[in-house]
Symmetry: C2
Subunit: 126 residues, 2 copies
């Protein structure tokens, strides 16, 4: 029921790339899908984006509700999902809860999605 947590770390090894080598097994697929599911929401993508581009690379809930146009509980909910997926880290300072990206986590996902390292060079044009 609850989210993956450190799922990324557990499958962190580069070779598991679902798009290289041989087929991934059920459990790896489920863990990766869990993290991707955390990402696959417009509100959460915008949250990551907002946090990343905020001064100091961090932001608290009160800075995020307005730009998103969502209620505070909803924003808290999304931040929770992202944090449990390992994509954000939370630090409470006084009354405020500051969130910041975990760059390694996102990099890991990007890497998992990157097809075989045989750079497909030519296609990029246009």
């Amino acid at each position: 029921m609850e989210y993956v947590g450190t799922a990324l770390a557990e499958m962190t090894m580069p070779q598991i790339s679902p798009l290289a080598g041989e087929p991934i097994d059920r459990s790896d697929a489920e863990r990766l899908a869990g993290v991707l599911k955390a990402l696959a929401d417009p509100a959460r993508l915008r949250l990551l984006s907002l946090i990343q581009s905020a001064p100091e690379g961090e932001a608290c809930v009160c800075d995020l509700t307005a730009p998103l146009g969502l209620s505070q509980p909803t924003v808290s909910h999304h931040l929770r999902i992202l944090t449990e997926a390992g994509l954000l880290e939370r630090e409470k300072r006084g009354v405020w809860a500051y969130y910041r990206l975990v760059p390694a986590a996102i990099a890991t996902i990007a890497e998992l999605l990157t097809p075989p390292r045989k750079r497909a060079t030519k296609k990029a044009a246009r």
Copy 2:
């Protein structure tokens, strides 16, 4: 409410990266979320993986139902989602429908997710 189709192509460009530069807007977030949503399912990740690792890099539905343990209609459904998201392409030869990856699409996603880290280093480079 069909899926995104060529959504990736439309935001294909590097600067739109949600994790670099400035916050992405609502529509870009929705398009990217749409594609990620297509990816964020264990069955579909395994489908991509199976197809990629099949001989010739292609496979037809009848080859995929058994390894997945899902019914044929369900597999067709997932393939449809992936195709409409631009991640797969379909070619019908005779009675069979062959599916293969669209490497550029996956590469684009990976790139969109790659944080500034990798290339930016605003303070360091140059």
